[in-house]
Every structure is written in structure tokens, then in C-alpha cells.
């Protein structure tokens, strides 16, 4: 992977990956199977509590890392370990190369180490004329293919048994069957010789315990045990982020690491090594042991108030396992060396902006990674932070700059939308629900994977006065936050909701000064614009006398509730908190606060099999899972579960326009899932999801229709 890859070339790689049928099928199967095995591994355990324990342990260790390092070095030296400190990747490479040369080592065996991948250690050692053999099966396979790993835990997950059989046939000079058990035995035999001949063994470490000067290594294949037993020299390359105070801390982390990684309760082997162990082939009777601690930017990360949590990563790889984009394109397209959500972030720190600039955009912001992260890292937030940082350093692309500028002025933004409404007229399909017949020139043909809705004739803000029925002795007074998509594209979602508000005697205010929630600016890396917009919204919505700020857009709700207080933490923290406190998504307001009964719908619109697509920002962003199901039942329709209700639809705001091909694949998988459920109707609670799903269902001629929850509850009486 060259370091100055253009976005276009990156997209070409994505297209190739999407066309790789084996990869797509393997990834799909894995995504579904992983969810089940992880759930099984954690059965009966309080996962959230475990994650919090790990996050606390790691956060404390990061804050204390200097003292822990000193303590570790003292202990390890007393045990007779040679400890080395490497500031940068080259330093670590040079140190390890020198150890090999000084000890007269020619042949090296390695067990899997992402840290060694990070610094391109093999390349360095091979340039010194040393023979380096990876002994983890997956790592050996990718080494033979001269590739990098495509997953942190399963490096060769992108390859089929047939590809491995061909490779092993080449290596052994004998035809090898594509039978997995046999292929594993080929590796057992081929590599045994390497273990026996090796002069030096290199490992990573999952844990470095300061209290005892011990390293801990978790493996399944047993290769790390041979690597640390047969050769005369052992070098452990350890990131300083692996330091923990005590064995108990490591045992706590180890309760979650294997479960999150592969759904195993524990790996086959966990090996604890405290200084040089017995080695009968050396004159001293002890192995020569070196530990190389690597910084390579970690200290800088630790000192950064926003990014220090990056070091809470325990390298389980779960963030890749659940990522909808990873599932479509595989690891080589979803990371530079480190893969998955954490890879998008660490690439910037370890391998530089050039390698990170395309990757960080390839995120739908669905939050699936954050929900499973063993270290409790707010991954989607940090990905956006990196995106913003890169744009600040390298310059903002015109499109993003314009968006930021436009959003900063609500009047400009809204008048542009009104102008766009006029400009689209010649392009409209003359159907009841207008779609754009042709796409405007600014979009390229590959955006045509879904039909795009037209901008409404009259935005909701211009309809509000007419729809507004002042309530007598209202039960609640709410401020309606429309978000731009519902205001200008889908005002009918809000019109339907207004019917229900009137029925339940709710006093509705519509603050005219409200603008976009600001999430699109965040997702384009325009942080300062996002902050300006947030401040404008705070000014626009008077909180006095308002019980709730209700929004029918889950993305707006989640951003207003969690994103805005984060953005304004140094600007208007109290005001933002008071605002966020009142924000509530539509479904929760109607079901739990208003408490509507099952008499809302008329017979004509009842009795349909109804699937729900849970917007990412509703289920993970706001923790709402079952409320919409209850409302579907109350509407007189039958809720039908789907396999992947809480998987992203592929919209992700600007994601779907930056990476339309990937977005389309995620969308298609979603629509297949709904088709399989036999549903007549697909309901969701976010206009962005409606745009994606309805446009995709129309384009692909799916048999079900798509609507917003408000339209299900309060359908138009006369079509």
C-alpha cells in the first residue's frame, strides 16, 4: 500500500473487494456467527460492568505509565532481562537487529505480534540477511503471500481454503488437498523444523506486569510456547500501552479479551514469563531474554486529553468484527496495519496522515464498534476527531468547506434548499411521492443506486402555523426539533406526528431559529461549523415551559443529546446539558411519556406484517430497543423480527455519497434481510434511513414499502 494513495484509487480497491465473492460470503457469515458466539461467551455475565472495569484499569495504567515502566524495568533487570526502550519504529527495528547480530542468530521464529507488524520488523530483519518465519498459521500464510494481515486476530480471514491449498502446494512442492484439517497439519510439519533450527524467538505480549516484571501472552496454536522455549534467545516487543500494575489486572482484562475476540471463554494458552527461563542449550542454563518497549507515538497519545483512551485498546479486533464496512470490503481496505475502527484511528498516529486520510472517511458512524469495544473506547467519536484533525492539517476539501460555511448560516442554508427545490423541477418524476428522475450533475452515476427524493414544495416550517392547534390545558408542552431532512424533504413525517400531538392534547412549539442539528458537519470533519450550529440551536430553542424537545430523527436526537454537550464542553456546558436533558426521540415520547394506547390506527392500515429498521443512533446512540416494536403492535400491525434489525442501513450521511458502492452493498444486505422476513412494511425512525431504505427498495423493486413510525401511527386519511 503506497502512502500517497488518492481517494479515487482507494475507491477502486474498495470496488475490487466488493466484487470478491468469496470475501463477501466469508465476511457475511463471520459477521452473523460472531454475534452469536460472542453473546454465548458472555452469557450470564454483566458485560457492561466488565468493560467498565477494563476501561478503568487501562485508563489508570495509561495515566501512570511512566511509573509502571520504571517499576517493570527494575523488576525485569533484577530477573536478568535486558530491557530496551525504543522511541520510534526504526529504533525498535535497529535494537532487535543488533540483538540478532550480537547473539549470532541467523534464523528467527516469530509468534503473532501486531506491534511487530506496526514497525515492519520482518522487512528490517530480512534486509539484514536474517531468515524470519512467522509461526502463527494465519500470519505464516500472509507472510508466504507477501501480504499484511487482514484482521488483528485472524490474519488470513480474507482467503479461502483453496487459496491456502494452492499456496501450500507451492511451498511443499506437493499437491495439497483443500481440506482444512490436512492444511493445518501441513503447517504443523513445515514449521516444526523452523522451530527446531531457530536461534532466536520473537513474540509480542498482551500484558506487561509491573509488579512482578512478567509478560503475559495469549495464544491458541501453541506456537508462542515453542518460540519462547526452543531458541536460545527470546525477544519480546511490547508497546508501552501493555503495561498493567498487577497480575489481577491482567486476569481481569483477560476475562473479556478472548470472548470479545473469538467468542472463546479463554485462549488455549496463556503464558506468563518472569525473566529468563531454563534453557538447557546455553552455557548459563538460562535463555537470553530481551524486552523492547516501544513508544512510537504512544506517549503523545497518552498525554492527549481527547485521544488517550485509544490506548485502552486490548487488540481483540471486535471493532472490525461488527463493522458493516469491514464486512463488505475486508481488512486490507479497512486499515493500514491495524484493522477496523481502532485501525482508522491508530493509522494516523503510527503511520501518518497520508495513510489515514482516506480510511477515516470510510465509517458510517453507526456505533457498532463502540457498543462492543472491550476497552470502552468511543471509537466513532475519535474517528470523526481524526477526520477533523486531518482536514485542519491538510486543508479542507471544497465540498466540506462549503458545507461548513453554508451550515454556519441558517438563512443561507435554508434559502439554498429553497433554490434547489426550484432547480430540481425539470428532473422530477410526476408521481404522487416525487423522486428525482435524474440526478443533478454534481452526483456521479454511481450514486444512482437508490432513488433520491425531491425537496418538498413547501417545507414544514412554512406549514407549521396552519397545522398548529393550540391545546387547552395541555398535558405537555414540547419543542419540535425537525432536523433539515424532515423540514425540507419529508415534512409529511412531521405532519403525521402533528395529528397525534393534537389528538393527545399536546402543546407544540416550533422554534423558527432552529437549524441543522450539526451532525453532517461533524461527519464531514467540520468541527468548528458543528459547534457554531450547536450554539445557534441552543439560542433558538427556549427551554422555559418546555417539557421535552421531541425529534423524529434519531440521528438528530442522538447528536443533540450526546454530541452537542461534547462539542460545547468548553463553550456553554451548562446550557448544553440543560438542552440535552430535554431531548427525547419520538417513539419514547409517544410510548413511554404520552402513553398512547392501541387505538391509534383505523382498520384500513392495520394487520400488516411490519419489520423495524432500528436506526444506529436510536438503538446504540440512545439505547432504545423495544419501544418501537410496542408502537408497531399498538398501531394494529404485527411486528416481525428481522435477523439484523440493528445493523446499519449504509446511509451514514456523507458516507453514502463518498462511498456509494459500499453504501449500496450494505443497503442491499439490509433489504434482503427484510425480504426474508416476509414483511409487507418496513418502518424506521430516522429520515436518513427512510431516504436510504425507501430509495433502495424503489430502485430494486422490493415488494415492501418503507415509512416513518409517525406515518404508521397516524396515516394520512385521504391519499
Amino acid at each position: 500500500m503506497e502512502s500517497h494513495e488518492s481517494l479515487k484509487s482507494y475507491k477502486n480497491r474498495l470496488d475490487d473487494a466488493l466484487d470478491n465473492r468469496f470475501l463477501r460470503e466469508a465476511m457475511d457469515k463471520f459477521a452473523v456467527a460472531y454475534r452469536a458466539s460472542r453473546e454465548n461467551a458472555f452469557a450470564g455475565m454483566d458485560v457492561a460492568d466488565l468493560i467498565q472495569q477494563v476501561a478503568d484499569i487501562k485508563a489508570a495504567a495509561i495515566a501512570d505509565s511512566k511509573a509502571l515502566l520504571d517499576q517493570f524495568i527494575r523488576k525485569a533487570k533484577a530477573h536478568g532481562v535486558h530491557v530496551h526502550l525504543a522511541d520510534r519504529a526504526e529504533d525498535a527495528n535497529r535494537i532487535i537487529g543488533e540483538i540478532a547480530q550480537k547473539s549470532g542468530s541467523k534464523k528467527i521464529v516469530k509468534s503473532k505480534s501486531m506491534t511487530a507488524e506496526e514497525i515492519h520488523l520482518n522487512r528490517w530483519l530480512e534486509n539484514l540477511g536474517l531468515e524470519v518465519t512467522e509461526t502463527d498459521l494465519g500470519e505464516w500464510i500472509v507472510q508466504l503471500r507477501k501480504e499484511g494481515p487482514s484482521h488483528m486476530v485472524m490474519p488470513a480471514i480474507h482467503l479461502s481454503r483453496f487459496q491456502v491449498a494452492d499456496l501450500f502446494s507451492d511451498v511443499t512442492g506437493r499437491d495439497q488437498d483443500a481440506e482444512i484439517d490436512r492444511l493445518v497439519k501441513v503447517a504443523r510439519k513445515e514449521l516444526r523444523e523452523k522451530f527446531v533450527e531457530a536461534d532466536m524467538g520473537i513474540t509480542g505480549a498482551n500484558y506487561a506486569l509491573a509488579d512482578t516484571g512478567t509478560i503475559g501472552i495469549a495464544t491458541n496454536e501453541g506456537n508462542a510456547r515453542l518460540v519462547t522455549t526452543l531458541p536460545k534467545v527470546h525477544v519480546a516487543l511490547v508497546g508501552i500501552d501493555k503495561l498493567l500494575p498487577t497480575l489481577a489486572d491482567a486476569l481481569t482484562v483477560n476475562r473479556i479479551l478472548p470472548k470479545n475476540a473469538t467468542g472463546q471463554a479463554i485462549t488455549s494458552y496463556v503464558t506468563w514469563i518472569t525473566g529468563p527461563s531454563e534453557c538447557t542449550t546455553t552455557p548459563s542454563g538460562k535463555r537470553e531474554m530481551h524486552i523492547v518497549f516501544l513508544d512510537n507515538g504512544r506517549k503523545k497519545i497518552a498525554a492527549d486529553p481527547v485521544f488517550s483512551q485509544v490506548l485502552q485498546c486490548v487488540r481483540c479486533g471486535a471493532c472490525a468484527n461488527v463493522c458493516p464496512v469491514y464486512r463488505m470490503v475486508g481488512g486490507h481496505q479497512m486499515g493500514h496495519i491495524y484493522i477496523g475502527a481502532i485501525g482508522l484511528i491508530t493509522t494516523y498516529f503510527f503511520h501518518g496522515m497520508e495513510n489515514a486520510k482516506n480510511l477515516v472517511q470510510n465509517c458510517t458512524n453507526c456505533g457498532a464498534c463502540k457498543a462492543v469495544c472491550a476497552g470502552g473506547i468511543d471509537l466513532p467519536h475519535l474517528i470523526k476527531e481524526i477526520h477533523a484533525r486531518i482536514q485542519d492539517e491538510a486543508g479542507h476539501p471544497l465540498q466540506s468547506l462549503l458545507l461548513g460555511k453554508v451550515l454556519k448560516s441558517r438563512k443561507l442554508f435554508h434559502s439554498l434548499l429553497r433554490t434547489a427545490h426550484l432547480a430540481q423541477k425539470p428532473l422530477l418524476d410526476k408521481k404522487e411521492r416525487p423522486y428525482l428522475r435524474h440526478l443533478p450533475m454534481i452526483f456521479s452515476p454511481d450514486h444512482n443506486f437508490r432513488r433520491l427524493p425531491a425537496i418538498a414544495d413547501v417545507p414544514f416550517r412554512d406549514r407549521f402555523e396552519k397545522l398548529h392547534q393550540p391545546a387547552k390545558n395541555p398535558g405537555f408542552t414540547i419543542a419540535l426539533f425537525s432536523g433539515c431532512v424532515q423540514d425540507f424533504v419529508y415534512p409529511e413525517h412531521l405532519e403525521a406526528a402533528m395529528k397525534g400531538f393534537a389528538q393527545h392534547n399536546i402543546n407544540v412549539t416550533f422554534p423558527m431559529g432552529q437549524s441543522c442539528c450539526g451532525l453532517p458537519a461533524v461527519s464531514m470533519g467540520e468541527k468548528s461549523a458543528a459547534r457554531d450550529v450547536a450554539l445557534q440551536n441552543l439560542d433558538a430553542v427556549y427551554l422555559d415551559g418546555v417539557d421535552y424537545i421531541v425529534t423524529l430523527c434519531a440521528s438528530c436526537a442522538s447528536h443533540l443529546k450526546h454530541g452537542v454537550p461534547k462539542l460545547l464542553k468548553d463553550y456553554a456546558p451548562e446550557k448544553a446539558a440543560a438542552f440535552a436533558d430535554k431531548v427525547i426521540p419520538y417513539s419514547v415520547f409517544m410510548n413511554d411519556i404520552v402513553g398512547i394506547e392501541s387505538d391509534v390506527s383505523d382498520g384500513a392500515n392495520a394487520g400488516r406484517k411490519t419489520a423495524f429498521h432500528s436506526p444506529c443512533h436510536l438503538c446504540r446512540g440512545l439505547g432504545v430497543h423495544n419501544t418501537p416494536h410496542e408502537l408497531i403492535e399498538k398501531s394494529g400491525n404485527q411486528y416481525v423480527p428481522t435477523e439484523e434489525e440493528e445493523t446499519c442501513c449504509g446511509f451514514g450521511g456523507s458516507f453514502s455519497t463518498t462511498f456509494p458502492a459500499v453504501s449500496n452493498e450494505i443497503l442491499t444486505r439490509k433489504l434482503d434481510d427484510v425480504t426474508e422476513s416476509g414483511a409487507d412494511l418496513l418502518v424506521t425512525e430516522c429520515p436518513g434511513c427512510v431516504l436510504q431504505l425507501r430509495g433502495g427498495a424503489a430502485k430494486q423493486g422490493r415488494k415492501f414499502t418503507v415509512c416513518h413510525l409517525s406515518e404508521l401511527l397516524y396515516p394520512r386519511s385521504d391519499p
Binding site: 498459521l137 523444523e193 498487577t246 479463554i266 518472569t274
Partner: protein, 206 residues
Amino acid sequence: MVNTTIGSSKDDLAAVFTQKASLVSAFVHDVKDRTGAMDKTLELLAQKLPLDPQVASEKKIDSSVRILAAPNLDNDGFQQLSDRCRAFPHIHLIRDGLRDFPGGIDMGVTTADFGIAETGTLVINSNYEQTRLATMLCEVHVAILAVSDIRETALSMNEELETLVRQKGSYTAFVTGASRTADIERVLAIGVHGPLELHIILVEEK
């Protein structure tokens, strides 16, 4: 699914340990005492298929010979095993020198220091190189574990573990099931660089 609240009585722990170890394809056998453990070991060895040597050996080994390594048995235990092996001339019992068998040995029999019920894990003090090699180079690993040495979770026995780990030159192994991989198409395969099979003999009386 079993209840995850683990009972504290000895029998409960042994039951949970057995269940969890079986889940990761370890074979658990219950015996009354050490004599029973020796009998079981030899019974397993008798059933074992001939060794598949991983390294081409210079001298041809008779395919009926079975190499059994017992590096960490105490002197009494080793003597006892040795006496029994005398009745089987094809069993070649060794206590050390395992580096002479890089291509593998048939069976390694070791005692385990502890068992961890929650995950079916063995804790084996492997400071002694021969113990390490026996558990790595064997095709079948037989571990002898006293029921009274089973603990609830790793964290609940933190002090005992620290005592092992704290020693200078310590090499402490947690072993859970046989060596495994899912690196090709995520299909589970047992037996990679370590043992192909793990047998645990649970001894009622220590």
C-alpha cells in the same frame, strides 16, 4: 447453559471444571487415586495411534514403540509409573532429554498445579524446561489434577497464581483444551503446534 454462579463445594467445582473443559474438547476422566491415574495413563497410551513424526529422524524408530515422557512427577510417582511400564516393553519411558525428540513424542504426562473451574483451565508450573517440552512436543498430553486443587476463577486464586508467577525464571502456563486454530475460513481445527489431544485425569484423593 449451566448456571454461571459456581458452587463452592468440591464436587460442584469438579463438575463445572469437567463441563467447561469438555466444551473445549478436553477429555476428562475421574479416578480415585494416583494408582488409578497411572492405570488410566497407560490405558490411553495403549489406545494411541503411532506417532506422526514432524521432523525426519536419522534413526528409524520402530513403529510399535511408544515414547512416554513424565518430567514433573515426583520420585515416588515416577517410580510407580516406571514399575508399571516394565510390563510393556514397547513403552519407552523418559524423564528428561526431550530436546532429542523434536519430531514429537507420543505422550507427555504431567501433574497440574491447579484447575480453574470457570474456564476448564489447567495451571502448570512449567519453569522446568522438560515439563514445557513434554507438554508442547507430545501428541497427547495427559494432565493429572487433584480435585482439591480446583479453584473457582483465576481471580479468586490470585494469590496462589502470584506466588507461581513471582518467582524469578517462572514460566507459568494456563492450558485450556488442546492447541487449536480457526485461521482458515474460521473453521475450528484441533492440534496445531501443540498437542492434538488433551486428557485430564481428575484424582479424588490427593
